[in-house]
Amino acid sequence: MVLNQFLLLSLFLFCTGVYGALVRRNGVLVLMSIELMLNAANLNLVAFSAFYKTEISGQVFALFVIAIAAAEVGVGLAIVLLLYRNLSSADLDRADSMKG
């Protein structure tokens, strides 16, 4: 089995996610970027798990991550919705009343 391709793909996804999360200003897009990062980690876990053959805890880990990511996005969308309701915008930069 070729492990490197999976790891490179996951690294690319992770970097895309980090870039998106730091650069994008729209709340929904930030959530999507974070989702990319979590799935990059999932890909790693499953690829390593398949590579080691007898080791399945990586796949179990990935299942837990999928469930937790769903919960996180649920909370995240609620937060973006609340922001949109109070500021009529999903732009995260608008929430900047506190500084220092």
Partner: protein, 497 residues
Amino acid sequence: MLSVGIPAPDIDYHALAPEIVVAGTILLILLVDLIFGDRARAHASRIAAFGVLGALIPVLTLGADGGDVSMFNGTFVVDNFALVMKAFFLIVTYLVILVSVDSMSESDVAEPEYYLMTLTALLGMMVMGSSRDLITIFVALETISIPTYLLAGWKKHEHKSNEAMLKYFVFGVLSSAVMLYGMSLVYGATGSTLLSVIAEGPRTDLGQDLGTVMNVGIFLTLVGFAFKVSAVPFHFWTPDTYEGAPTPVTAFLSVASKAGGMVAIFSLIYVGFYGRTDAWQPIIWVMAALSMTVGNMIATKQTNIVRMLAYSSIAQAGFMLVPFAVAPEDGLNSYQSAFSATVIYMLIYGAMNIGAFATLMAIARRTRSGEISSFAGLFSYAPTLAMMMSIFLMSLAGVPIFAGWFAKFVMFQATIDGGTGMAYALGIVAAVNSVIAFFYYGNVIRLMFFREPTVEDRSPIRVPTALGAAIALCAITTVAVGIYPELFARLGERTPF
């Protein structure tokens, strides 16, 4: 044939009892709210408080029994350290409930759900104390984080509270993702999620050097947890979140949630990564030095008391990280003093910081302000509260006879036991910062005692019973441990993992 040969796990219900009681209380609050609705609104806090105290009983009986229990293939371990941390989390949550009761029932926010979220986060922390596996650690961490994101924005019509929640959430999930990626690399290098197997180092049977992969994994994992304990340079969210969130939630975040992250660092470093000191110790060293210095420097400039305490909590996180950075690398059993130093620091920090926030809430009932200037002349109309605030602030600064000095003492002891040049250097940074801290804590005390009050209404402040009880408990602990440090000194002892 569908019957698969997986044996049922061996479950010790006594060892799991604290978690079961808390989980049961969570369900009970949910059920009572569902059936009785608004009529039972006021009972949620009572159920939560009794549930938390109830969960303390099995923790105490387990402690009296002694002996370690290891379950689920070694992923869940109940030992002395786990029990001390569980008791700490339960007591801190109990104090936070006491602090919350009046401020929650006086405002128009959802009340039963507040306790539901607090207890869910507590459950995550308790599991974290026992986690000895990457999966369990990750799940426990998210069980702490997700409810606390919501708690930070509990006053959902207030703009500041929204902003607090938003910043905490974005940085929180970002750090979770970075940490998870790090964990996936650690798993890849070692082929196991179990910390005891990870401790054996990267696999060598593949004919490749996986050491670098493992080091990168360790780095990313620790960066993720640095966000959680708000260590510099991953601290940006802390002041804004602490200022915007409701004050009881801030107390909870600054103590319980920070300690949750710290406990994870404990198991990861002392069980999993200890053999690879060169990979994690320099990172922790830099973070500890930066957290203490930056936290204290910025704290001196703050005009808002909550922001000042936020930066002070960043600095305190730095002090807590010092023993990790100086733990000697020879042999797995040489780090006892570094280990117990952080445990003791954490316990004492819990008492004094919750106390400070509780007193702050009592004072803010009159001043309706978070500005430090509003503390002027407090002693002339509320002498008891001014005394209490002084006790907690002096303890945070590390003045002898209050518990904080013992926390600092064990921390410096650990740097001396570390014995290397880097350890002494960090000790000097810590000493300089302890002196800087006197200025901003002392400034508040000076205002309270030696300035003319600025508020109109100078009648004595009425403190609700629950809030007063929380302040009294924290003050008694702070003074008692300061005078008899032996009370806490033994709690840091441990059997090797």
